[in-house]
């Protein structure tokens, strides 16, 4: 019943969401682009002038920028490897017949619901603290010197925290995919004498391939924007050792009041995120039909 009347009603119903998102996408991004070509510092707004490509060139010659890019990539890849491999292993385990599966699932999914600042503070103070943390207690128990995690391994510590937050997400999605696996096919393969490993490689893994892709792509979007975990643990330090691109831009904008520089960094972040987005859109788009 696609009459003209319902069609125009449908247009009217879609309009508010589309207009809002259109404004949300175009206005701030346009402003960022404009600011990125200005010499504009909030401490000296009167001295604002056209900068041309200076802000971008500045980023390109700043060693902190390359540290940040490297840290961003290490952080994203590190967390992805831990969560995907760990997620597959845990999903396979809790898909087996076990007692108390419901409670096991609830325990495993829980870290995902812990807000980032709380997750970071729990790990910083309760677990990794060099004097009072559980890791230090364990080290002392074995007579070893406790590790000062955030001073000695700042980026690794943050990877551990973020991986703990995202492991439940990967596990849950991979488990959902695993549960739709055809049991009869598995049984047939088993009857034909296929070993557990060969069944995993030839049946389970291909079946989970799409879920794995989705996990990788969605996590990457969120992992590129890791912020609160760094803010409450290392503040990006020591030096730039745990500064990612998001944190570098935050620092330029909020601590150095360098609006032009932060905007140029923002544009670079958009370009990075878009490279990832292109792949995600393809994977999700296929599912629409």
């Amino acid at each position: 019943m696609a009459t003209r009347q319902t069609a125009s009603l449908a247009r009217l119903m879609r309009a508010p969401a589309i207009i809002l998102l259109l404004i949300w996408m175009i206005v701030p991004l346009g402003m960022t682009l404009y600011y990125s070509f200005l010499n504009y510092n909030l401490l000296n707004p009167a001295g604002t002038s056209w900068a041309g490509w200076f802000n971008y060139r500045y980023f390109y010659t700043d060693p902190a920028f390359f540290d940040a890019i490297r840290n961003t990539l290490v952080l994203v890849l590190g967390v992805l490897v831990i969560t995907v491999v760990g997620g597959i292993a845990i999903a396979l385990l809790i898909d087996k017949p076990i007692w108390g599966q419901g409670i096991v699932r609830i325990l495993i999914i829980s870290p995902f619901f812990v807000m980032p600042p709380v997750a970071a503070l729990i790990w910083k103070n309760m677990i990794m603290h060099p004097s009072y943390g559980v890791f230090a207690d364990i080290a002392k128990f074995f007579g070893a010197q406790p590790v000062d995690w955030f001073a000695q391994f700042p980026l690794t510590s943050i990877i551990i925290i973020v991986a703990w937050q995202w492991l439940p997400f990967a596990t849950l999605i991979l488990l959902t995919a695993l549960q739709s696996l055809d049991g009869e096919q598995m049984e047939a393969a088993e009857m034909d004498g296929a070993g557990a490993l060969s069944r995993f490689i030839h049946l389970t893994l291909p079946h989970m391939a799409r879920a794995i892709t989705v996990v990788i792509l969605i996590q990457t979007i969120f992992l590129l924007g890791i912020y609160a975990e760094i803010l409450v643990t290392t503040n990006g330090g020591p030096g730039n050792a745990s500064t990612n691109l998001t944190y570098l831009i935050y620092r330029a904008a909020r601590l150095n009041f360098d609006i032009g520089g932060a905007a140029a960094g923002g544009i670079i972040a958009v370009i990075l995120a878009n490279l990832v987005a292109i792949f995600l859109m393809r994977a999700v788009g296929k599912n629409l039909d």
Partner: protein
Amino acid sequence: MARAVSSRAKVGYTVAAWIVALLIFFPILYTIITSLKSEQEAIAGFDLIPSFTLESFRAVQTQNDYWKPFTNSVILSIGSTLLALVVAIPAAWAMAFSPTKRTKDILMWMLSTKMMPAVAVLVPIYLIFLRTGLMDTRIGLTVMLMLINLPIVVWMLYTYFREIPGEILEAARMDGATLRDEIIHVLTPMAIPGIASTLLLNVILAWNEAFWTIQLTTTNAAPLSAFIASFSSPQGLFWAKLSAASVLAIAPILILGWFSQKQLVRGLTFGAVK
């Protein structure tokens, strides 16, 4: 899977699964335990048995005015989600029931707005908030959280609405139902579970948001995520109190989250994994 599994194998799997689950849950568990300790106990070394004192919970509430950020979290997460639903329900409805050739493109474009890194628009949003007096106001932050979750809300609703079979509508029309009857008696009851799921997941996402809440608030509008982040330096030394504040901040959403596992998968994968 109707395969018989030996009970010995089941015991093995069960033990392994429980060990993994408890290891993953341990940081949360230990925080709950520490929140029930006194400050002296909390730094006295590893101990799983607290003295079950509630002094830290009381301290957080009296000294830190815990209820203010808590109230802000409730208002912001529920307010932003309801606001998003008001905008998204008609849009998702129209796209699900009167799709056009461009519907798919519109949905993909909406999804693409979610890919924009928050930090890329930090500068303009921060300046707009400063100049318009929206800084540290609940209304400003509610609108922000609504905008960042709107694409997910539209998408989730769309995937749910699309599952409502069109034949039911046709049958209702054959029986002489008017458009009003259709909406009230047929579509609404079938759409409510999807709307409820969407609401649940988005309240969780808004509650845990920790970039904009930290950037755009100081004291008045600060929700729990910003409040807890401010614990990182001076009060970080009070282990039991920090734990109590953490437990209070995550408990409501943890419990909501346990009920939303299915919606979580669907909402966060944009329907790509069900």
